[in-house]
């Protein structure tokens, strides 16, 4: 049934992905079989059937051509494609996605380039992080509101978010599995003597540093990352382990809705070229409800969730009530002396299995029964 599908041939290799999706169940169980051969960093997929009607099988053909609109090429929302590995070790890093970012590693700091949307997202996420962290301190130095804080930026890429946090006075550690990204980030901060001292970069994954940095950070930032990890549960567990009690976890990601499919994948990647093709896989998007359940089950109490909207014409982001596209979440790790998870937290829908409590939380954790 996909015999008539197009194979674009521009001298590059193709990536074929077969998705099998089973409808009819309420769970979001998806099996993804990937055989990945990447050449270009950009690839797109064209569904052969209407997107809202999932047949049993859907083939996505990856074409490696770049499609950009001249007027919109400033605006690309770039995520981190962390590819999936099938291995027995618990890892959250997806190697196929690593390759995607490899080729664009030098483009991070072009503010009008493909990463422009991430640059302008700083206007939202830096105040979000800063203001929520300031609530936890009595007073602060006017010039360096975050001084004295240790922050871990997971999936820092080229350091787009790491540097502003460093400028605000925090000691930031940025980690990313893509070596080239870390190189770009290192080089960029090396010109500024102050940032050079405050920021430290490492090319590694979160799991690799969990042992040595247990309870070391006041805040962990995972911005535009969780939609690329393989094993979200493990990832959140690790985040929780490296946080001090009472520390904050900040996540920004994309919701898994039909709207995010239509706008985030079809429009942004296919049509407008805002996001390089193949950056995102819709199945990996995480809904706020699912994220909240995982956070809560790991002893992180969700303080706030807010929607973010991107205007591709102006290039600016805005806060929104609507979380069906992008959203930001702030959760706090319960400390030993903290009060338990607030009762007013309401769970929306979905039957989820709760994992057992994370070992780092000694205090009495109330199970949220659903």
């Amino acid at each position: 049934m996909w015999g008539g599908s197009r194979l674009s041939c521009s001298g590059n290799r193709f990536l074929g992905v077969v998705l099998s999706r089973y409808r009819g169940t309420q769970t979001e169980c998806t099996r993804l079989i990937t055989s990945a051969v990447y050449s270009e960093n950009q690839f797109s997929w064209t569904p052969q059937t209407k997107p809202w009607v999932f047949s049993e099988y859907r083939i996505m053909w990856f074409k490696s051509y770049r499609m950009t609109f001249a007027c919109l090429n400033r605006i690309k929302i770039y995520r981190y494609p962390w590819t999936r590995l099938y291995s027995t070790s618990r890892t959250t890093v997806d190697s196929s996605e690593v390759k995607t970012f490899l080729a664009l590693a030098h483009r991070w700091w072009d503010e009008q380039g493909i990463y422009a949307p991430l640059h302008s997202m700083n206007d939202l996420r830096v105040p979000f992080i800063r203001d929520n962290l300031l609530k936890t301190v009595a007073d602060h130095q006017p010039g360096k509101p975050l001084s004295g804080m240790k922050i871990l930026d997971v999936g820092c890429g080229g350091g787009l978010l790491t540097e502003p946090l460093g400028r605000l006075g925090a000691s930031v550690t940025g980690i990313d599995p893509v070596d080239e990204n870390i190189k770009t980030a290192q080089q960029h901060k090396s010109f500024d003597p102050i940032l050079d001292k405050r920021i430290e970069y490492r090319a590694c994954s979160l799991e690799e540093i969990v042992e040595e940095t247990t309870e070391a950070f006041d805040a962990v930032v995972a911005s535009e990352v969780v939609e690329h990890v393989i094993d979200l549960e493990t990832f959140i567990q690790c985040c929780c382990q490296v946080l001090k009690p009472g520390g904050s976890l900040f996540i920004t990601t994309i919701n898994k809705t039909q709207l995010s499919y239509a706008l985030g994948i079809v429009f942004a990647e296919q049509i407008a070229g805002i996001v390089p093709k193949g950056t995102h896989t819709w199945e990996k998007f995480v809904s706020p409800e699912k994220l909240e359940s995982i956070l809560e089950s790991n002893g992180l109490s969700v303080q706030s969730v807010a929607g973010m909207l991107y205007n591709p014409f102006s290039g600016y982001w805005h806060w929104s009530e609507n979380t069906s596209l992008n959203y930001a979440a702030h959760a706090v790790k319960s400390g030993v002396q903290d009060h338990p998870v607030p009762d007013e937290f309401v769970f929306k829908g979905e039957t989820e299995e709760l994992r057992g409590q994370d070992s780092t939380n000694a205090g009495a954790q109330e199970e949220l029964k659903k």
């Binding site: 503010e111 206007d123 830096v126 800063r130 001084s147 400028r167 010109f191 003597p193």
Partner: protein, 424 residues
């Protein structure tokens, strides 16, 4: 605000103020070769110094301890007719303040000393070259602006602010286009002693065909003169002896030589009509004070022109003050626009710094540019129009402006709008 506001600025010759080329430069002490400044302000005139202070904080207090004058009213009238416009605030608040150039500079210098831990001043140095960064970070090339000084040393900065006057070296080095033309006029400035002490709280301006002459109060016995006129006349005025100069000033304010009967009657007609339609109070015409003496060393002149930079900002560069816009002094708005630039730029920079942004990033610099271009373009256009309108004694235009002035005078809300715009 950013944790470390390292300000470095220097003064290129502020020719507009008629001073000799006092070149000064400000720099952060304790600098090693590889220190990167947050901001460097190039140009040490009123606007440059004020920018340095604003980024390091607060200077008005010093001014209050020195000479300044509040004025309550402003009367502007035409030499070719009886038409006048009076700006008057009904309540007794001051409409504005006249502060001498020197007084402001003195206050700013004092303030800069007070914030010297954050701001360094490099006196007597001149920037001879600028190196701009690539728009796109490239390997091994510095992302900062490099400024080469006359003595061979280099400064690096994240943001260069050009406040070096209408012949801005910064603007030229950046290749920013500048729309400009010269008026065939020079302005003569002087400090005058009035014949008798009065409650000197009115600002006077009369439009002569050769150019406007303005008398601005400084104290009960002192006023400041700004007389824009042709180059030759200006040169004469500066060189003539004191008595003749004083006579020239007095006759400029009082003489009716340029009136014509036709215009007078036309003006009177409209005046009756206005009084009929709006028989509310009309402030009585006041007579300007007469001048007795001139301060000997205070007389000087400088040429006038209009200028407007096509872009106020580039990556890691911002232009403020006369470097961005140059205007005729007839509305007294030149340095005010510069101060407005400062206020807007400081606002944008502090918001950016609080978000941890790179100070030289275009995202907030374009915000400053949009704000100020909107405001300044309108003011420049209006001032240029007024200048051209009042430069002639051709009857139709005189009639037009006579009636226009009288009509504007009659419409109080319009006058209030004008005052509000000018005080922004």
């Amino acid at each position: 605000m950013a944790a470390r506001l390292a300000l470095s600025r220097w003064r290129a010759a502020p020719a507009a103020a008629g001073r000799g080329p006092l070149l000064s430069c400000r720099r952060w002490s304790g600098a090693k070769a590889d220190t990167v400044y947050d901001v460097v302000v190039s140009g040490g005139g009123l606007v440059g110094a004020a920018m340095a202070c604003a980024l390091g904080f607060g200077a008005w207090d010093h001014i209050c301890n020195m000479r300044y004058r509040a004025f309550r009213r402003m009367q502007v009238w035409d030499a070719c007719s009886e038409a006048l416009i009076m700006f008057d605030k009904d309540n007794l608040d001051d409409m504005g303040y006249i502060v001498e150039n020197d007084v402001i500079m003195c206050a700013l210098t004092k303030q800069l000393e007070a914030v010297s831990d954050r701001v360094t001043v490099l006196y007597r140095s001149k920037a001879v070259g600028y190196t701009w960064p690539y728009p796109f970070p490239m390997t091994d090339s510095s992302p900062w602006v490099h400024i080469t000084l006359g003595d061979g040393s280099t400064l690096q900065t994240k943001l260069l602010i050009g406040a070096d006057g209408h012949n801005s070296g910064v603007r030229q080095a950046a290749g920013i286009q500048n729309v400009s033309w010269n008026y065939d006029q020079s302005a003569v400035v002087a400090t005058l002693h009035l014949s008798e002490a009065t409650e000197n709280n009115v600002a006077w301006q009369r439009f002569l065909p050769s150019g406007p002459i303005a008398l601005l109060p400084l104290s009960d016995t002192l006023s400041s003169l700004v007389w824009s006129t042709s180059h030759e006349h200006a040169a004469e005025l500066v060189s003539m002896d004191e008595e003749k100069f004083v006579d020239a000033i007095n006759s400029a304010f009082w003489s009716d030589a340029n009136h014509t009967d036709f215009i007078d009657s036309a003006g009177a007609m409209l005046q009756y009509a206005v009084a009929f339609l709006k028989p509310t109070k009309v402030s009585a015409r006041q007579l300007p004070p007469s001048v007795a003496r001139v301060d000997a060393r205070s007389r000087m002149s400088f040429p006038l022109g209009l200028g407007h930079a096509a872009e106020y900002v580039r990556p890691r560069l911002a232009l403020i003050g006369d470097a961005a816009h140059r205007v005729h002094p007839l509305a007294g708005q030149g340095v005010n626009m510069g101060f407005g630039d400062i206020s807007s730029l400081v606002h944008h920079l502090s918001a950016a710094a609080f978000n941890g942004k790179d100070l030289g990033s275009m995202s907030h610099l374009t915000g400053y540019e949009t704000d100020r271009q909107r405001h300044n373009t309108a003011l420049l256009a209006a001032t240029d129009l007024l200048k051209r309108l009042y430069s002639t004694s051709a009857t139709p235009l005189v009639l037009l402006r006579t009636w226009g002035l009288q009509a504007t005078n009659a419409v109080s809300p319009l006058k209030e709008q004008i005052m509000a715009f000018a005080s922004k």
